[in-house]
């Protein structure tokens, strides 16, 4: 019984971290349909800025995190205007090459300025505690991640489904020419959405740093994790990404409790079988 509870609790906690680190990618790749392999780069940049602010300027955790996200958005805006705008029109392979090139640039910059060792984001004392659940303990920050994850999915749903911005965004990604023709400023919509994706990436990078610590090679090290969540969830669906992240977290956690020796094989075998049956993912909208 306690084993099942353990799997459920740890699976959901891990799944939420997976969701948080990949939700930005389901905006840029899922919604805007640009194969954005530099997603992990934005997550890392947010973390690096927060780290520098905390370790060198003595800024607190929450303001440093917010400034980290703001700095990432501030960088994403000109990057979208100057570079991504051209990448949207590329073929799939060219998008892969262009964004992996950007990733290498980001890695080299961080490596040059901060070195290749871990860049800590120490939690404030209150967050660093564990909560006693009676039969075991759970780190408080994981509960915070679960809370933020739920808030993000609700916020995104409201934004995309219930606001004028969301309607315009859906129109712009479905048919950019027609959307432009009826007077929607699609360029501005794209810029704003890309910045949203980058900001969410930075938020995920910072919140997930307790498990996936920030360092120069972060974008490459965890690239498969991000891509798997979006691929299984289905392009263009936040609910899909959310369900996929929870499902993958549960599968991985269960396999590590039950068959630790075969954990990785079991995990990827599940993904292969699933994608063979449903190549569009859980709630894929793309043909």
């Amino acid at each position: 019984m306690s084993l099942i509870l353990n799997i459920l609790i740890d699976g959901v906690a891990y799944g939420m971290i997976l969701f948080m680190i990949s939700v930005g990618l389901s905006v840029t790749m899922g919604l805007m349909r640009v194969i954005n392999l530099a997603h992990g780069g934005f997550a890392m940049l947010g973390g690096v800025v927060a780290h520098v602010l905390m370790s060198e300027a003595g800024v607190g955790y929450v303001p440093a995190a917010l400034l980290g996200i703001a700095a990432t958005v501030a960088l994403a805006w000109p990057l979208e205007r100057l570079i991504y705008r051209r990448i949207y029109g590329f073929g799939d392979l060219q998008q892969v090459l262009a964004t992996i090139g950007l990733t290498f640039l980001m890695i080299a910059t961080v490596n040059r300025l901060q070195g290749s060792t871990l860049l800590a984001l120490p939690l404030p004392g209150g967050l660093a505690q564990s909560v006693d659940l009676g039969f075991r303990t759970l780190p408080l920050h994981r509960i915070v991640v679960i809370g933020v994850g739920v808030a993000v999915i609700i916020g995104l749903w409201l934004l995309i489904d219930r606001t004028r911005f969301g309607i315009r965004l859906r129109a712009a990604v479905d048919n950019r020419a027609t959307a432009g023709a009826i007077g929607i400023n699609t360029g501005l919509i794209y810029s704003a959405t890309f910045c949203l994706g980058a900001g969410l990436a930075a938020l995920g990078g910072i919140l997930g740093a307790e498990m996936l610590p920030i360092e120069a090679y972060y974008p490459l090290r965890y690239m498969v994790l991000f891509l798997v969540v979006v691929a299984v969830g289905g392009m263009g669906s936040f609910a899909g990404s959310f369900a996929a992240a929870l499902g993958l977290g549960l599968i991985e956690t269960a396999s590590r409790y039950l068959v630790p020796e075969y954990g990785t094989i079991f995990y990827f075998a599940c993904i292969i079988v699933f994608l063979a049956v449903r190549p569009k993912g859980l709630w894929g909208r793309l043909a």
Binding site: N6, P122, P139, E215
Partner: protein
């Protein structure tokens, strides 16, 4: 015919020119290490250590001028290591080789060493089997058996009777598990479970929880440096294993370059290792001060000391034997010297240094406010216990 004769003589003149141009008594040392990519820190530290040694001892040994040539091997890549070594031997005509971070990289060059009779000083790679591949390997770092076995024996002496081992599922992890389990069961302790964790693990909670459920006296772990160690030690603390009294036993996990990033979660972790930057000796303090003077951002750790002592060994060999490889190996065997880490002897049989293994605990230094590996005990003069296993 005439043309090719002219060409030949021109080539001969050119060759003569270069050999005359180069100083006749310059001994070249080729250093193969990662200088780019995720493991670039090793190469940087090797180079810093060599520079510290040169700043202290000059660039001559005996009658000979010593010159270091650096080659970037990237990550674990035996083919690359082999072709760079070949290039160093043939094109650069090096007399000594040094560096080598990963076991496969070091292993791949064994036939080249035998053919060219070139001594190779390993600065890092930690598998015992390497030195058995060629007579020309020498090692100034450590082997996994050398630190894991004394740790197991020490743990038993401290009253620890049951252990769960949990290592990352790759070569060095399995080596460490074998060494620890062999020594701990030999001493009379019980290994309740041996867990091997996939190399790609990011969430260690399931493994930590199953250790907790078995409530052993201690856990023994081996993890690759960086993110996996960070995640594992965090999870160990957050899931209350420390509060339950399950002791953490490790080896390289608390090395200095990433230690500060672990934060207070690292305090109290117990490891057995051959070098701590906190080692209490004037020689060590002078060594670190010199390194900081030359490289203000540098963090001194085991990679630095391995390269520093390796450079010392090369200087000794050059002084004794010049460019004569087999004579240099003979000169190195049994050599004794005092290092910043403590006394060293180059074991004539295993060609790995015999050294002290220290039992350390992570503490926050009252003066500097930084986390340090404070030495609590010493197991004197341990050789390569994995030789022939």
């Amino acid at each position: 015919m005439k043309v090719s004769f002219t060409g030949l003589s021109a080539a001969a003149l050119l060759l003569l020119g270069t050999s005359l141009g180069a100083q006749a008594d310059t001994i070249k040392v080729g250093v193969v290490a990662p200088f780019s990519g995720p493991f670039a820190l090793y190469g940087k530290q090797f180079q810093e250590a060599i520079e510290v040694y040169q700043a202290e001892h000059g660039t001559t040994a005996g009658e000979h001028e010593i010159e270091f040539i650096y080659k970037d091997s990237g990550g674990p890549n035996p083919d690359q290591a082999r072709s760079l070594t070949q290039e160093l031997l043939i094109k650069e005509q090096v007399d000594y080789l040094a560096g080598y971070v990963f076991t496969p990289n070091a292993m791949a060059v064994a036939p080249l060493l035998d053919q060219s009779e070139t001594p190779l000083v390993i600065f890092n790679a930690a598998t015992s089997a390497i030195n058995a591949q060629s007579e020309f390997y020498l090692r100034t770092s450590y082997t996994l058996w050398q630190v894991s076995m004394p740790l197991a024996e020490w743990a038993y002496e401290q009253g620890i009777r049951s252990v769960v081992t949990t290592v990352t599922d790759y070569g060095p992890g399995i080596d460490a598990e074998n060494a620890f389990v062999a020594a701990f069961t030999e001493a009379g302790g019980e290994v309740l479970d041996s867990i091997r964790m996939p190399l790609s693990t990011t969430d260690f909670t399931p493994f930590i929880q199953s250790i907790r459920d078995q409530s052993p006296d201690a856990l023994f772990t081996f993890l690759p440096g960086g993110p996996p160690t960070f995640g594992f030690t965090k999870t160990y603390n957050e899931n209350g294993l420390r509060d339950e009294g399950i002791m953490f036993l490790g080896t390289a996990e608390t090395e200095e370059s990433n230690l500060q990033a672990f934060g207070d979660a690292a305090i109290g972790l117990t490891t057995a290792y051959h070098y701590s930057a906190d080692h209490d000796s004037d020689m060590n303090r002078a060594f670190i001060a010199k390194n900081l003077e030359l490289h203000p951002d540098s963090v001194t750790n085991w990679a630095t000391i391995g390269a520093y002592d390796g450079t010392h060994l090369i200087y000794e060999m050059v002084e004794a034997a010049g460019s004569d490889g087999p004579a240099a190996i003979e000169a190195a065997k049994g050599l004794e010297w005092e290092s910043p880490r403590g006394p060293l002897v180059m074991d004539p049989e295993t060609r790995t240094v015999v050294q002290n293994v220290y039992i350390r605990e992570v503490e926050r230094d009252a003066e500097s406010g930084l986390l340090v590996n404070r030495e609590k005990g010493v197991i004197a003069t341990v050789g390569d216990l994995g030789w022939g296993k």
